[in-house]
Symmetry: C2
Subunit: 236 residues, 2 copies
């Protein structure tokens, strides 16, 4: 009896990174992403993107509309969300179990997310008590791929006078994370927007009674939730 190779095709780390990038750009909506946007997000040339899109389309992980763009299929979405779960779980584990700073975890998670087994994923998840959010306030997808995204807006778009809760900080730039931490604007903190940004001026918020000036470049990395109740909340 010949041993049939049943399509146990493993996606490569590179392929997984493209799928993740598509998800970052268009999310569950899975709208058409133009080649150039993806090239920028991945830091590769447009030519490289075209080639990879061909492969991913063959694998049924994306749909490619030539000269128009690409979007994730349900299968591709599953892979992307799986990698995001790995990434955020690893970040959470490094901070909570191994004493990493939240500004030290992103790179490490970006490498490890492609290398861990389902068993390790499960063990970390259980060891942490099935966490729902990572250190940056980003929701951790459930094992089945469910991913609840609270509606948020960038801090610089919050209207003056509104009271908001810090929800998520972009995990890509360690220096920004350290700056955010120094200001005390960590996920879960409630702040009042005192002054909106005019002509690129810093945003002023009040936190625990004291006024804090937030440079626009930093405010763009901070997403907040306009207060409403419901569902599971980010760490408070």
């Amino acid at each position: 009896m010949p041993k049939l190779k049943v399509g146990k095709r493993r996606t490569s780390a590179a392929q997984e990174d493209y799928l993740k990038a598509l998800f970052r750009i268009s999310g569950r909506a899975a709208t058409l992403v133009p080649n150039a946007r993806l090239a920028e997000e991945m830091g590769v040339s447009p030519g490289s993107v075209s080639e990879m899109l061909g492969k991913l389309a063959t694998l049924g992980l994306i749909v490619h509309d030539p000269y128009r763009g690409a979007r994730l299929t349900p299968d591709g979405l599953k892979v992307a969300v799986e990698m995001i779960r790995h990434h955020r779980l690893i970040e959470t584990y490094l901070v909570r179990a191994l004493g990493y700073g939240w500004d030290e975890v992103h790179e490490e998670a970006d490498r490890l997310e492609h290398a861990i087994s389902e068993r390790l994923e499960e063990r970390m998840w259980q060891a942490l008590g099935q966490p729902a959010f990572d250190p940056h306030g980003d929701p951790i997808p459930a094992p089945d791929g469910t991913l609840v995204e609270h509606p948020t807006l960038p801090l610089q778009s919050a209207p003056a006078g509104s009271e908001v809760t810090v929800s998520r900080i972009s995990d890509r730039d360690p220096a920004k994370l350290r700056a955010v931490e120094r200001l005390g604007l960590t996920p879960g903190r409630r702040v009042m927007v005192v002054e909106e940004s005019v002509w690129e001026s810093p945003i002023v918020v009040s936190l625990d009674g004291s006024q804090i000036s937030v440079p626009l470049g930093l405010a763009r990395a901070i997403r907040v939730e306009g207060d409403a109740e419901g569902g599971t909340k980010p760490p408070g």
Copy 2:
């Protein structure tokens, strides 16, 4: 001032695997390893080995004596030992911190050893209290590359009547590890050799008063220490 790229060449996972294999075969002695032996150990063709040896020699990680064989340079030895430290630390961490069985860790460690940072290595080491041995009784190299190997012999070579301590079990075959565990011959256990192997017969040892029959194939995977005192000992 132009930013000079100072030779921060990163070794690839494949290169690291070749260096590890060289170390497994000839250890610190760094004697010449013939191409075919390395090909067997790596599970690749002789042609592939020749090519890789060329690259590693260029990088100064091995010395290649054409048609004779290859051996690690001090630099290559450092990389190999570094990977072995990663491997054994990861295995130890998975068992002690995440509840893995000792038969479940090898594959995972083989993937992760190439992906973890020096920071993660350090954090795991501290979290475990600077362990000296992995779950299979293999010594974990110190951060500076120091590696103390106790002299051991395969169980099937131990003379009848001798009292020995189980020291190390090969971590490559999960099924053998489970069999060894069922027999209770885990690292640190003291046993008396009752019957040596004759004509491939099982070895009989006594453990806690009861007699245990160890198939030759299993005995070959078990290394023991003829009792003498000194130094740090494997887990008891």
